[in-house]
């Protein structure tokens, strides 16, 4: 088989549609007779609802219906738990999931309270002004440490405390290791992670056809199949009566896989109630409070080492802010707990966390999904240890890397996929070496930095390493079919949000079937096209769905060869698939087109052999035994102006190992985008809640997403340790850019300001915060 496309920089199939403004996004759906929804949301972080008066709203011309929690009847119930807690011994998990509309009590600013349906969005929003809600404000739970003090107000009274979860995981015996250590370093770290802020807000459109008894939903989701199953169950429909379409999605990054959003549950229901198509599109202000976010953790961490810098053990006890509800289970803090170990051979580990309910927006994964927090803690501990021991920061990392012959490497704790955290493969030193070379580490440290310092410039360098669990199960599937035209159509259940699946998946198929990559048409995100699947999350699209597509294409290839061999009367080994034909090797004029084979494989008369399946088509599923571990090194050079405390990134390098790369152009783009989000998380973006639980940064004027002025050119390179866990040897690449960025940035800033002798134990920074740190003494 000739590999023409796998590994090649191919322009994306989906781009002409997007570039000409012809792609369908959810808000582009327009149906005759469509109604529009607006939500009245809580202005309070924590309050009792005494009464709600909607009578004036109902009188407004153009208003069709108004619903409070009471009006939902039996349909009002807490959402399902999306991810159950992992099987860890002694785990405490208090499940409290979001409700469609708040009843009795509101628990965060932005929680939906009343739904208004009207002939236009303008009228629906007017009607919100007509509604009167009588609230009795309660003391809000904002600070996660105070939330655990006795007598603190409670987000959920029936839980009896604000503890959402408590988990302890162990490897070896940390206390015994500590007793042997030459040095023990302990610090308190603070890490805050922000909003995904995808450029497209969320939205749902539902259309109920009462004659066909069929519900169609357009949904900005990363997991259409799961949404279909859930909505069907909630509405008492069978799955075949519901079609969920996730059309083009304007960026996902995690929060678009949260399910089920309150609005997501209500829009299809109200479309059925009113027998009219209904649309709700989130506006940006709503996105800041109603779409899930990530938030902060406070870590008390300790590392025990020998005097030559070998890690004997790590202990970490942390608090995690989970917001008002916990529908996504423990994915985020478990990722923090597991990813902290990084690429290092750490024989003893004790990790304990408490997830805390607060009166804030719900926390679910956002690109990195808690991994940032863990990486930051570990990398900062190593930086401090290196300083204390007088070892170069790159040496201390190198010394503790898991050696390449120790894979698969078992960390002996449970990961987010409920399987033990085992790294499938990796080789960390080459990535570090390459990154050091690309950033010019030796030269910078020895020549440039001293020279620039002598000129009064504050420049510093940061180098950090990380691993990333990717491509987890359970499974994905795909159907590959050769059409009579000779073109190939492929359907899979994952959704796509800009990752280039239309192209990378087509590359896999084109190689197997010997067709032009532009002749492979991929359908993702439409449950009418493929029935099974779980969704795009945890950097798994290319790994899991890609592998299923590969297997299905391989099967179709076998079918094509078998049939062609019968027709051409030539042994299969003597045939090849080239340019849309099966032809005889060495005699290319003896050939039959794939389109012709597709027609011949679907006879209209006569008999076929028993067991024959019609069509050049195959459906295959792939479920990896466990996730594939990607890894890499980030390095950056930063200049800080101690007067203004502005920091400028002068150079940024990423060397990444995501196994075999299907399309380097796409992977590069994923890394650039991730780094840009990481830079935002390091220095520009911050979620600020005041003591009343009000979000103070609820616009793009206050929540600063990096622009082209802030994101520096990024140099990327790859090393490749193929994953043995899937036939393509790939690992996920979606999140790597974003995970260690703040750790690299902070290290570089601290280095730049070495004459001030400060230790930075938190992220994000900002000019103001840096100023405080510099002047606190």
């Amino acid at each position: 088989m000739a590999v023409r496309y796998f590994g090649a920089k191919i322009k994306r199939n989906e781009d002409p549609t997007l570039l000409t403004g012809r792609a369908l996004f959810t808000d582009d759906v327009d149906l005759p007779g469509m109604l529009h929804v607006a939500f009245l949301r809580s202005d309070y972080a924590h309050a009792r609802i005494r009464s709600i008066d909607v009578s004036q709203a109902l009188k407004r011309p153009g208003v069709v219906a108004v619903y409070t929690a009471e009006d939902l009847g039996d349909y009002w119930r807490p959402g399902p738990l999306l991810v159950p807690p992992p099987p860890v011994e002694g785990i405490v998990f208090n499940q409290r999931t979001q409700v469609p509309l708040a009843k009795d009590k509101v628990r965060f600013v932005g929680e939906p309270v009343v739904m208004v349906v009207a002939e236009s969005r303008y009228i629906a929003e007017d009607a919100l002004e007509d509604i009167f809600v009588d609230y009795e404000p309660l003391e809000p739970v904002v600070d996660i440490e105070k939330a655990l003090e006795p007598g603190a107000p409670l987000v959920h009274e029936d839980v009896g405390s604000n503890v959402a979860a408590h988990v302890v995981q162990r490897k070896g015996d940390y206390e015994a290791a500590k007793a042997e250590a030459d040095v023990v370093i302990s610090r308190r770290f603070f890490y805050d992670h922000g909003l995904a802020a995808a450029m497209e807000n969320r939205g749902y459109v539902a259309h109920w056809d009462p004659k066909a008894q069929f519900l169609t939903i357009w949904d900005t989701t990363q997991a259409p199949v799961v949404i279909r199953n859930g909505i069907a169950a909630m509405l008492g429909l069978s799955e075949s009566q519901v079609r969920v379409i996730a059309p083009f999605i304007g960026g996902g990054f995690g929060p678009k896989i949260m399910m089920f959003y309150q609005e997501e549950v209500l829009i299809p229901w109200v479309a059925m109630q009113l027998n009219r198509p209904v649309k709700w599109i989130e506006d940006r202000r709503e996105n800041f409070v109603a779409t899930t976010q990530e938030r902060y953790q406070i870590h008390k961490a300790e590392i025990a080492l020998t005097k030559d810098g070998r890690i004997l053990g790590v202990k970490d006890v942390f608090l995690h802010d989970t917001g008002a509800y916990d529908p996504y289970g423990l994915t985020v803090p478990i990722n923090s707990q597991c990813t902290l170990l990084g690429p290092y051979d750490i024989p003893n580990y004790y990790s304990e966390f408490t997830a805390v309910f607060t009166n804030k927006t719900i926390v679910t994964p956002y690109r990195g999904a808690g991994r940032q927090h863990g990486v930051f803690v570990m990398e900062r501990l190593l930086d401090i240890a290196a300083k204390e021991l007088g070892i170069d920061r790159t040496e201390i990392r190198r010394k503790n890397f898991i050696p390449p012959d120790k894979f698969p490497y078992n960390n002996e704790i449970i990961y987010q996929d409920f399987a033990p955290l085992v790294y499938d493969s990796g080789n960390y030193e080459p990535a570090l070496d390459k990154a050091l070379e690309l950033i010019g580490y030796e030269k910078f440290i020895k020549e440039e930095q001293p020279k620039l310092r002598a000129q009064g410039k504050h420049v510093g360098i940061g180098v950090v390493c990380y691993v990333e669990g990717t491509g987890i199960g359970p499974y994905e599937g795909a159907r590959v079919r050769v059409e009579a035209s000779g073109k190939v159509s492929v359907a899979t259940g994952v959704g796509t949000q800009g990752q280039g699946h239309f192209t990378s998946f087509a590359q896999i198929v084109a190689d197997q079937l010997g067709v032009d990559v532009r002749d492979v048409h991929i359908v993702t995100g439409d449950t009418a096209q493929f029935h099974w699947g779980t969704g795009t999350f945890a950097s798994r699209g290319a790994v899991v769905a890609g592998s299923a597509i590969y297997e299905a294409a391989k099967k179709v290839r076998e079918k094509a060869l078998k049939l062609a061999s019968e027709i051409l009367e030539v042994a299969e080994e003597d045939l090849e698939l080239v340019d849309g034909y099966v032809r005889v090797k060495g005699a290319p004029e003896a050939k039959i087109s794939l389109g012709e084979l597709a027609v011949r494989s679907n006879p209209l008369r006569g008999a076929v052999k028993p067991g024959t399946e019609p069509g050049l088509e195959a459906t295959m599923y792939f479920g990896p035994e466990r996730g594939a571990t990607a890894s890499g090194t980030h390095a950056c050079i930063v200049e800080v102006d101690p007067e203004t405390c502005m920091a400028k990134i002068l150079k940024y390098v990423v060397v990444h190992d995501c196994g075999k790369v299907i399309n380097p152009l796409i992977v590069e783009g994923q890394i650039h985008g991730g780094v840009a989000q990481g830079i935002g998380n390091a220095f520009y973006e911050q979620i600020v809640y005041n003591e009343d639980g009000q979000l103070l940064t609820a616009s793009f004027m206050d929540y600063l997403i990096p622009t082209a002025m802030e994101v520096p050119p990024i140099v990327t390179d790859h090393v490749e340790t193929p994953s043995p866990l899937n036939p393509l040897g790939t690992k996920g690449a979606g999140e790597a850019g974003a995970i260690p960025t703040a750790a690299a940035f902070v290290q570089a800033v601290e280095d730049a300001l070495s004459d001030y002798n400060i230790e930075i134990l938190e992220a994000p920074l900002s000019p103001n915060r840096l100023y405080e740190l510099l002047h606190k003494k």
């Binding site: 000409t20 995904a196 497209e200």
Partner: protein, 159 residues
């Protein structure tokens, strides 16, 4: 606020006459009245630039204008850049070749910002490009491939 006005607006060469409320945003008018959904709305507070269209040849944020303000004016949206997906504008071609888009949601805004920019400045430096797009947010690409696309487009358009 809800009083009605009849306006005539030329969009991509076609003149439309519609009766709209005074408060209707130009972005809503383009998207929902005219059905030209290539213009996207990302923030409705004038920061993200996704809604950028050309207003008498100048880039404007259609979420910060009312439809009535466009009465008698000429607008160009992304749909007006190329006749069909097989005949792309050099700017679109360059975005395609340089992988200047991922989800593509921000892209129409970038294209409409860049068209007049490159016409005025056919040979921009990287700094000038960065400044030109600093009012457009993209959450996917990290801008690097967009900047490469602009350089490539400038080259194509100079030819």
């Amino acid at each position: 606020m809800t009083d009605l006005h009849t306006i005539r607006v030329t969009v991509n060469g076609t003149t439309y006459e519609r009766t709209v409320e005074a408060r209707m945003l130009l972005s809503d008018f383009i998207r929902h009245e005219l059905g030209l959904t290539g213009t996207h709305v990302g923030c409705e507070h004038g920061v993200c630039g996704a809604c950028t269209v050309l207003f008498d040849g100048q880039p404007v944020r259609s979420c910060l204008m009312f439809a009535v303000q466009a009465d008698g004016h000429e607008i160009m949206t992304v749909e007006g850049l190329a006749p069909d997906p097989d005949h792309l504008h050099p700017l679109q071609e360059a975005f395609w070749e340089a992988h200047g888009l991922q989800c593509g949601f921000c892209t129409p805004g970038f294209l409409m910002t860049l068209k007049p920019f490159l016409e005025e400045n056919p040979n921009p430096t990287e700094e000038e490009i960065r400044l030109a797009i600093s009012g457009n947010l993209c959450r996917c690409t990290g801008y690097q491939h967009i900047i490469e696309a602009v350089k490539l487009a400038a080259e194509k358009m100079r030819k």
